[in-house]
Symmetry: C2
Subunit: 151 residues, 2 copies
């Protein structure tokens, strides 16, 4: 046993149920995400089992975070992931050239995409913040009344 295992748990590939538990998703959801083009498993086993690597895991966690924490639809998440992929390609093009002007252009494009994401996130955060402020104000008024009663 353990003939050529590449290090202690280094590049292990996981089956769908394992990643599902690690991400707190269902296997069905993961297959569905694949169905709609959000990710492809790193590989398949001899018998066609889906096999996921660490990158896939991170991607799934990203999807879950975007869905649960930011409340984006899967379609929107798809766009974000495309952005991500574009940035990755940019990164490679960046490394492949030595031309300063080209490097600058590539970085500017990446920055632009990130700024776009940030704008959307900040917009959400801002509106959420306004709501919180509203509730907090009412809460403060009640607190005030309570304090008046106590003195």
């Amino acid at each position: 046993m353990a003939p050529i295992l590449p290090g202690p748990d280094q590049a292990r590939l996981l089956r769908i149920q394992e990643v599902a538990e690690l991400c707190a998703l269902t296997a069905r959801s993961i297959r569905y995400y694949e169905e709609v083009g959000l990710l492809k498993p790193a590989g398949r086993s001899e018998g066609a089992y889906r096999l996921y690597d660490r990158d896939d895991l991170e991607r799934l966690l990203f999807i879950k975070a975007m869905r649960d924490d930011a409340g984006f639809s899967l379609a929107e998440i798809g766009l974000l992931l495309e952005d991500e992929a574009a940035r990755e390609r940019s990164r490679e093009r960046f490394m492949a050239t030595r031309d300063i002007a080209e490097r600058r252009a590539i970085l500017r494009a990446s920055a632009g995409r990130l700024d776009g994401q940030l704008a959307r996130l900040h917009d959400k955060a801002e509106r959420l913040g306004a709501m919180i402020a509203g509730v907090e104000e009412r809460r403060a008024r009640v607190g005030c009344r309570l304090a008046e009663l106590d003195q």
Copy 2:
């Protein structure tokens, strides 16, 4: 014309299409919200047209804000509105009594409900904030690279 109009535009009742435009919702959505018990129009016209007052308008804006800005489901929004109603009843009970202890209890209950709402909102905001921080960090790295190129 204008025989007994109660002030300049004071207590005008609006029909569904008008409120829909004011709230940036569809008439269908508003009827649906009624269907699932989120609001009832202030009144009906002779011919059974739904008529909405300013309170209804605010309620609809609240629903929209909760749905779009905070990403709550209509079911969750229903609970929030029940909370709201409970606070309103508390307010009346508060005004109806002079017993200090009872007043304190009523205020405490209101404060508790508001704190509950705040906890849920803060939780959302926090997770959203974490995501923003992550994206901002990556944005900063790209910015750094750009600055390095420029000097």
